[in-house]
Symmetry: C3
Subunit: 314 residues, 3 copies
């Protein structure tokens, strides 16, 4: 998809596939779907079937994909936890599972706990595959919805100052979002995390080379004022071997009403990919700047609907 806005029949595996023009096309399509609700829209995918293969727990990504595909008039074949319900129990490889599902479906949306599996799946498949998260790897549609939420608010993705807090090491949504913002000039992101959960040096260098300005900070006192967005994240329990270590780190940084008053600007978007497990005070929810439970979540459906229609309609 590099240097092109042609989506028809393509896989969506990584944000690296996108250039500015193709991202613009996704956003324009999502914005159009968001504001229209015509009968024609409801028939966009009539007769199409998507296979949703979720090898890891999910409500948000699963539900927004499922609802989005159906809101376009399509149907889905759904496997949540195929480890329990499917041939995977009998020892089937991911390639065989994918090659089987492609016989019945026009598109596959796959989440898998192991990084790299989505590439294997996409190579095996003759129908388009969308990565809905592969372990500590990527979650490109999450990045797109986060970028869309920022773009919708500020009408630009350049000259932004952002803050990311939490698990920089394991949070795949963090990685994908940094990748995305690296494509646009003059963005600065402050990274705040426990020492053990910092971005790996490889990734830090990779992103920096792409032109984004990453600044690691150690305490909430160092948060700059007037950020365009704060992107809080959950410490990823499921990636810890040592549960005690997890318990120690999980609430290192909490987004409180007090912190918002002290450090957020009047237009700062308060974002979180969710689920949260205590790292945002519920008192923050009613702040008009808090979009994590509302606009950000809902945009996930619209961005996915945009991709579905771009990929499946020539």
């Amino acid at each position: 998809m590099k240097n092109s806005e042609i989506f028809f029949g393509k896989d969506i595996l990584s944000l690296d596939q996108f250039d500015k023009r193709s991202i613009e096309k996704v956003f324009a399509t999502a914005a159009k779907i968001k504001k229209t609700s015509t009968k024609k829209l409801l028939r966009t995918l009539t007769g199409k079937v998507a296979g949703l293969l979720f090898f890891e727990p999910s409500t948000r990504t699963f539900s927004s994909n499922s609802a989005g595909f159906k809101r376009l008039g399509g149907q889905t074949v759904e496997h949540q936890n195929p480890n329990v319900t499917s041939s995977t129990v009998k020892g089937e490889t991911i390639e065989d599972t994918v090659r089987m599902m492609e016989q019945y479906c026009d598109l596959l949306v796959i989440r898998h706990p192991i990084k790299g599996t989505l590439e294997i799946a996409a190579n095996a498949s003759s129908v388009p595959v969308i990565n809905a998260g592969d372990g500590i790897g990527e979650h490109p549609t999450q990045a797109l919805l986060d970028m869309f939420t920022i773009w919708e608010k500020f009408k630009t993705l350049t000259n932004l100052k952002g803050l990311m807090v939490g698990d920089m090491l394991n949070g795949r949504t963090v990685h994908s979002l940094i990748r995305g913002l690296s494509m646009y000039p003059n963005n600065t992101i402050y990274l705040l995390s426990p020492k053990q959960l910092k971005l790996s040096r490889e990734e830090f260098d990779l992103y920096t080379k792409r032109g984004i300005n990453l600044i690691e900070i150690d305490s909430i006192d160092q948060i700059p004022s007037d950020c365009h967005f704060w992107y809080w994240t959950r410490v990823q329990k499921e990636r810890f071997a040592d549960k005690k270590e997890y318990e120690r780190l999980k609430l290192s940084f909490i987004l409180t009403k007090k912190l918002v008053s002290k450090k957020a600007g009047k237009d700062t978007l308060l974002m979180h990919p969710l689920p949260r497990v205590g790292e945002i005070e519920t008192a923050v929810d009613s702040d008009p700047r808090a979009v994590y439970l509302t606009t950000e979540a809902r945009n996930g459906m619209y961005v996915r609907m945009a991709l579905f229609s771009l990929i499946l309609k020539s």
Copy 2:
């Protein structure tokens, strides 16, 4: 909904929300849906998506909601056992789960093992929430379908004599049905259960004050003849800490062919919310008065379809 028949956009949490006029409206709508099967009906909910969140095992309630919503032309996003398949694993609260689902869905149907959870969910949600059973709390649509089944047969909900047998303590369908029949004058219900599973004194007094005549009996010999309905129930295994106690009590009272011959009237409806686990002899199934496997179950779908269309169509 008190003193009103306006359902549009409302939650359905408890039978206490209903008055006679609103119940009448549900019944009239359900009866109309039951006898028509037009193309227009199949398009009632075109473009609507319901989220089904079942935090407890269910086939009956789940299936009738799922089939009913789809028979009206809508689509569903389904989570059975979200404890296993969803973000709940990661520690998400019910409020966050609900606020996420409302971004993708036009209505939520929720079952949860803990009483009171549905109220929390409905408070968090901006889209209508239907209680599909909350632990030992309520199961209002079950009560409505039972009342509809009685009303369909006798064309009235007043001056009835009924019998309820089984687990009066933990059976939420029992509680909801007694509440419902309390709204109509001059109803008498005989309650037969093991001593340990009697209606709590608080609930006994509450319902009695509302005007229903409750008579507790101890043995099948005391069952009056010519009841309008018998409402048998399962002893709720999942509510017992002590499984031996459950084993001792589960089959205290069995609905047999012999008992039907001896004590049922010629028009007595033989009802049960199902599933049953031995407390009704299968020999009773073919009795024309037995509606538990047929009319009563099917009415569950029609009553839910009525609620869906009343809540979602202005």
Copy 3:
């Protein structure tokens, strides 16, 4: 269905229900669906709801049923692993589960681990029931799709020479396919399996009496050349009490590229009901004669779509 091509309202439990004329009708319908994709086709089952009850893990059969029903414009109510998610947990019998589901659905597709359960289910149900595999019993739609795949290639089901390899004892797809080919004259099937997994003598005699020529062989050297099809199968781990015995036998015979070069004819169909767990080298996948991951799998959807439309449209 014997001596008749009338499918409307019928159960599909065993291949023994079919005669040549009814099989021909299924194949003609499947072929027509396969090559057309009209709007009319998409409305064939508008307003119909199928219940999919899978009491055993499945992706292939589940997904092809689910996708197929939806591609005809119908909707489904789905229970994967009802042992976990449904009233079966509360101790409900299969008869009660079926009699409940028939209240909401127009047709039921059931898979169950215990042989004979499908007959019980069909007897209890007033709506058509399709057997999607009952333990070591039958899997008639699998046999139909395999026969359809052979028929599509050779335009006949007579005078065929075939090879079946793997678990002849427990493989229900093997049993159903042999039954099917027994209906046509002059077919010969070579059976290659570990001694412990040979066809039972009862079944060997039963099929032989029906007119098929079964020849048991002991080694790959005895495979005749110029077979019309090779039907490889997985050793059924889930049927073994002794897992060590399973490990010893599971890879007794492997379909390799070398073996294909040596023994397969230029038109030999390479088939497998899938999933496979090592008994076919992936190097064979790209052979144009290998249809297991492609045509054979996809035909499963078309054959099921044919049955759905024949059973539900008068």
